[in-house]
């Protein structure tokens, strides 16, 4: 078992109310499994990823990664096993470091020493990895990453997040801020790198078509609970219209997500 969440509860207090972001969520993922996660705003998707990454800690429940209980470990002490790509391309790179310096930051996930971060051998490896993104970034390795476009930056972020071969890769709507062409490109790069690295992947997306065509399992979160879980053949035969019908039956009707999906099926 690569990832195991047991009875995760997490609530936040907002002025005047208590919001249950996750109530009693359990989930296990096998090595190399690719799980897509959908749900409306406030369904708990990001909280779920935050809890796996260790940025937030559950009020109740346990988190296991690669057989270790990491529930109480802070994010930097489980970074070795977790890679993450955010929606905002600005968050995944350091703008005032060069492309290769960003890569140097990403390929070391434990203690940092006084060794030089950039060596000839490493540069060679990175140039190789960059060239496979097919964005000519290998020729811009010494440019500040702040000068890259959103798509280029997000591709670089995916490379960084997968470079150290983490056990788990978290993708948080990582193509949502990109234009369609770049979104497709970054998605293709993600699939390639995930396939090579053999990581367990949790991908949050707001696009039902994406959630259906990618991965081997689909999870629908609603109001902090897993509302629906489809895997294997049941998932591959599922259509967007089926999904919409399923949600309706479960009483999710006033949902922006459904609206969007319905529009897509009409278009």
């Amino acid at each position: 078992m690569s990832l195991k969440l047991e009875g995760i509860c997490k609530s936040f207090s907002l002025p005047g109310q208590r919001v249950h972001a996750l109530s009693n969520v359990s989930l296990s993922a096998d090595p190399e499994e690719f799980i897509t996660v959908i749900g409306s705003n406030g369904a708990g998707k990001s909280t779920l990823l935050d809890i796996v990454a260790g940025v937030r800690h559950p009020d109740k429940g346990r988190v296991q990664i690669a057989g270790r209980d990491v529930t109480s470990r802070p994010a930097h002490r489980r970074a070795r096993w977790v890679g993450r790509v955010f929606q905002d391309p600005l968050q995944g790179t350091v703008p005032d470091l060069t492309v290769e310096e960003n890569l140097a930051l990403a390929c070391k996930k434990g203690r940092r020493g006084l060794r030089f971060a950039l060596g000839r051998r490493r540069r060679h490896l990175w140039a190789d990895a960059l060239s496979r993104l097919d964005m000519s970034l290998e020729r811009r390795a010494q440019e500040l990453s702040g000068h890259l476009s959103g798509g280029e930056r997000q591709a670089l972020t995916v490379l960084m997040a997968t470079m150290a071969r983490p056990e788990i890769l978290l993708l948080d709507e990582h193509t949502a801020a990109l234009d369609p062409a770049n979104a497709d490109r970054v998605l293709r790069i993600t699939q390639d790198l995930v396939g090579e690295g053999g990581m367990t992947t949790l991908m949050v997306t707001h696009r039902m078509d994406q959630a259906l065509c990618l991965g081997s399992r689909l999870i629908m979160l609603h109001a902090g609970e897993i509302l629906l879980e489809v895997a294997g053949e049941a998932k591959s035969s599922l259509q967007v219209t089926d999904l919409v019908r399923l949600f309706h039956r479960r009483g999710v009707s006033d949902d922006a997500l459904l609206l969007e999906a319905t529009e897509k099926t009409r278009g």
Binding site: A53, P95, L105, A117
Partner: protein, 295 residues
């Protein structure tokens, strides 16, 4: 000519402090006011140790160490106990004021006739006497700059630079950004205290009030240097801090010598310095507004 030499001597010695301010303000983006306390901490500790018979070199190193420890305190306050950065710096600064008086036992400690790391190095260098002090000061500043440049190219240094720009990312890649703040402030204030120690030996005394306005002077140096060199890499940025420091000290010496004719007194210096920093901070905003109006 003598004025220029003095400006450069002071520019380099205070330049160590400017390097420290560059680290906290630019690299970490942490508004660290404790330098107003660590600069005189370095001066008073080094002076007391020299008076009690220590070698001036050992005393300077001890001063740098004390500065590093003092500001690891600021960093810990702010990152572990969530005291606001500005407040943490001010608290450290005020504590150091009392501590500096304790260290020296009085507000001012003269060092005339005592051995000095600056003049000892100057005598050792094979350089004519008029230039030797400048060479010694330059050696210290450039050595510190080069070491710093090297450090920022190591894995640890790179992580430190990243922590200023994107702490969340640093955490995602397995380093604790809080530790990076503490480490960065320690390096920064080690340099500031070393600068204080050397300035005290150079000018022949340590004074408990010599730290007032250190942060503004350091910022002035960093900003002036940046305006001239427009650095795009760390090595250029540290060079710019040293250049800015020399220009700033030069401007002060000129103001002190010729300012009287215009009705300025030395006590107006801090006002003028703050105005320079203010102008540099406000200029880009004003320029941006003008541009928008044109468009």
């Amino acid at each position: 000519m003598a004025l220029l030499v003095h400006a450069l001597e002071q520019g380099f010695l205070y330049g160590l402090m400017a390097l420290g301010v560059y680290i906290s303000f630019r690299v970490l983006r942490f508004p660290d006011l404790s330098v107003d306390g660590t600069f005189p901490l370095g001066a008073s500790l080094a002076a007391s140790l020299i008076v009690s018979g220590w070698s001036p070199f050992a005393a300077s190193i001890a001063a740098a160490g004390a500065g590093a420890v003092a500001c690891a305190f600021t960093g810990t306050l702010s990152s572990r106990f969530r005291v606001q950065g500005l407040l943490a710096g001010v608290l450290t600064m005020i504590m150091l004021y009392s501590l500096n008086l304790r260290i020296m036992g009085r507000p001012n400690l003269p060092l005339l006739g005592r051995p000095s790391a600056v003049s000892a190095t100057a005598n050792w260098l094979p350089i004519p006497s008029g230039w030797a002090v400048l060479a010694a000061a330059g050696l210290a500043a450039v050595a510190a700059k080069l070491l710093l440049d090297l450090f920022f190219r190591t894995e640890l240094g790179l992580t430190l630079r990243a922590a200023g720009g994107n702490p969340r990312l640093v955490q995602a890649y397995g380093a604790d950004p809080k530790n990076m703040v503490v480490l960065g402030l320690a390096v920064s204030n080690g340099l500031v205290a070393l600068s204080g120690a050397l300035v005290a030996q150079y000018s022949g005394f340590a004074d408990v009030n010599m730290g007032v306005g250190t942060i503004v002077a350091g910022l002035a140096a960093v900003i002036v240097g940046e305006m001239i060199l427009r650095p795009r890499s760390v090595a250029w940025a540290t060079g710019a801090a040293l250049l800015g420091s020399c220009l700033y000290r030069g401007a002060i010496l000129v103001a002190l010598r010729y300012g009287g004719a215009l009705g300025f007194t030395p006590s107006d210096l801090k006002l003028l310095t703050a105005l320079v920093v203010l102008a540099a901070l406000v200029a880009p905003v004003v320029r941006g507004k003008l541009k928008r109006e044109e468009a």
